[in-house]
Amino acid sequence: MTIAVKPSAGRAGFAASGLRRVLYDRRLPVLVTGVLFVIMYANGWYRYSFDDQVLPNLIINNCYLVVAAIGATFVILTGGIDLSIGSVIGFSGMLLAELVVKQHVPVGLAALIVLAVGAAGGALMGCMIHYFRVQPFIATLTGLFLFRGLSLVLSKDAIRVDNKTITNLSQYHIPLGGDRFLSVGGAVALVVVALAAYVLHLTRFGRRVYAIGGNEQSALLMGLPVGRTKIMSYAVSGFCSALAGLVFVLYIQSGDPLHGVGMELDAIAAVVIGGALLTGGSGYVVGSLLGVLVLGLIKTIISAEGTLSSWWIKIFTGILLLLFIVLQRVIGARGKGGAPGG
């Protein structure tokens, strides 16, 4: 039957295979997100006469979300999900504020403690998922409740962080040439993106993450340490969430038990807009960065428009999510049978 079809496909075959290669390329969704970002940015430039600082500001205002989304990318690549991100962000901010303001712990040590707690929390959830076969959705949901609860135990009210080191850090501007500058948080976010890209593409751990997301069963049969890798990816997510919490404190200079509520969904949405598949095994860190920037740009444009009410942000975010998902579906029924690559 296939032979009968072949000749008629004949000449068109070459062009089709070229087109196919583009359509089946895993980088295409990232590229589409990038192009969309450029179009939106250019449109904003034209309509609201954006100045040079808009792009750095996008990173500055969304630095915590970038860091959180990178952590979420690791977990989503393994085919899991992490719902505890927002709570861990809130808890980290509270813990830092508590340690620095009330217990007078040096800022550096306090930050290390917070990061360790975040990573340990993530690893614990990973253990629950791997050893006790609790579904990731449920295990991290309990993490969401637990960390939100813990931050309420620390204090019911917001704690102002008026530490000199933190104030200095938050006001430090890294010059980028011209009038442009980047905050410390923004720089941290970019460093995290670079590190994550390195880890995912150039280390054994990164390959294992992709392999497990591609097919956990085959990864297991290939002898990859599935359990360890999974637990580690949740630990990475917990670490990134804690870091995002620290960056958030730098951004807002207070700890509040209600900070970061629902931020896990923003992070997951950003990862999806960045072109990753929630089934795992396909996606890029750069995509997640672009996803966050696109979400941030929506807010910027809506506030620049001035006449639109704030709920339009939610509706536009939803519409954008929809567009991307439909696009992913149209690009291919790919990912269904034997995803290309490995």
């Binding site: 050893y131 309420l152 509706i315």
Partner: protein, 360 residues
């Protein structure tokens, strides 16, 4: 009771949820001696158990809808947003009436809200079944955009209504909370439809393997769409109950995070998130467990800031007790009887590990 019989009870899928619920209710007794007493005050039933039912019914309804969605291997994150939208539409319509107490007007408002819920469910179902979007993402869209839509309906304000017929939905009818009747009707209707006809089997077959069931002649897509529509309808009713109980529509806070509670209730009730199996009784028990937990926290006087930690700790314990692997590891220590290896991916590492250890 013979040992064999006892094992049958122990193995029953409702054993753990029921045991947890009973344990939780009994736990209250030392703290609140009259916990189980029910009396009539002002023509209404009154007591701790009744208040668990009143506040628990919206969750039961949402969880029931969620059960079928999860049984097909899906998930619905948009139920909270659907609740907000249905409450917003009903209150918006009633607010515009010249006489807010007119029965016909309230009926139209309820109808409008439920039609909107149906449409939203259809949207979710079409995205999942026709376009083939992963359920968690398909419903995430509505979860994010839905609250925006609800705010659009209410204009960003909290709409308060003063309508006696509307208040009935979240109030009392014949001395019993109206919600109990609604929930009972939904449970009975659902049980009859899914367990007395082949529908439940079809839903489970779609959850087990959508493609295989399609090839076997099951209209998998139609069933998937139906399940999402049903879930949204349940959420819509729950939204009306919630909004009627509070006599307002708050687009920001109505049904906030109820999707998480509902999913938790379903899982505690023994329906796996992987689909292919579901338990209506388990879900009702699961929702009651969560509501009892919340009530317990208030009645035993846990300091309010420790509420969530307490809740999280209990939920973690409940989830771990539900995990067969956890029970095997913890309780298995006390048991001599070797367990047959289960044919799950979990058993593969142990099988691989064993020879290595033997060599060592």
């Amino acid at each position: 009771m013979t040992a064999l019989n006892w094992r049958g009870v122990y193995r029953h899928h409702l054993f753990w949820p029921a045991a947890i619920l009973v344990a939780m209710l009994l736990f209250n007794l030392p703290f609140t001696p009259n916990f189980f007493s029910i009396h009539i005050r002002n023509g209404h039933l009154y007591g701790s158990l009744v208040s668990i039912l009143i506040f628990g019914t919206p969750l039961i309804l949402v969880a029931l809808g969620m059960t079928l969605v999860i049984a097909t291997g899906g998930i619905d994150l948009s139920v909270g947003a659907v609740m907000a939208i249905s409450g917003a539409i009903a209150c918006w319509y009633i607010k515009g009436l010249s006489n807010q107490n007119s029965l016909g007007g309230v009926a139209i408002a309820v109808l409008l809200a439920l039609v909107a819920a149906l449409a939203l469910g259809l949207w979710n179902g079409l995205l999942v079944a026709r376009i083939g979007v992963q359920p968690i993402i398909a419903t995430l869209i509505l979860m994010v955009a839905g609250r925006g839509i609800a705010q659009l309906v209410t204009g960003g304000f909290i709409i308060t209504v003063l309508s006696a017929p509307y208040a009935r939905i979240g109030g009392y009818a014949l001395t019993v909370p109206t919600g109990v009747f609604i929930a009972a009707a939904v449970v009975l209707g659902m049980a009859a439809l899914t367990r007395r006809t082949a529908l439940g089997l079809l839903v489970e077959s779609v959850g087990g393997n959508a493609e295989a069931s399609r090839l076997a002649g099951v209209r998998a897509r139609r069933i998937t769409i139906m399940v999402y529509v049903f879930c949204a309808l349940c959420a819509g009713i729950a939204g009306l109950m919630n909004s009627s109980n509070l006599a307002d529509a708050d687009a920001n806070h109505a049904g906030l995070w109820i999707e998480l509670d509902a999913i938790l209730a379903v899982v505690i009730g023994g329906t796996p998130l992987t689909g292919g199996r579901f338990s209506i009784g388990g879900t009702v028990l699961g929702a009651l467990i969560l509501q009892t937990l919340k009530t317990t926290i208030y009645t035993i006087g846990v300091p309010s800031q420790a509420n969530m930690v307490f809740e999280a700790a209990v939920v973690i314990i409940v989830c771990l007790i539900q995990s067969a692997e956890f029970r095997a590891r913890v309780f298995g220590v006390f048991r001599r009887r070797p367990r047959p290896p289960a044919a799950t991916p979990a058993s593969i590492p142990t099988q691989l590990d064993k020879p290595v250890e033997a060599v060592r």
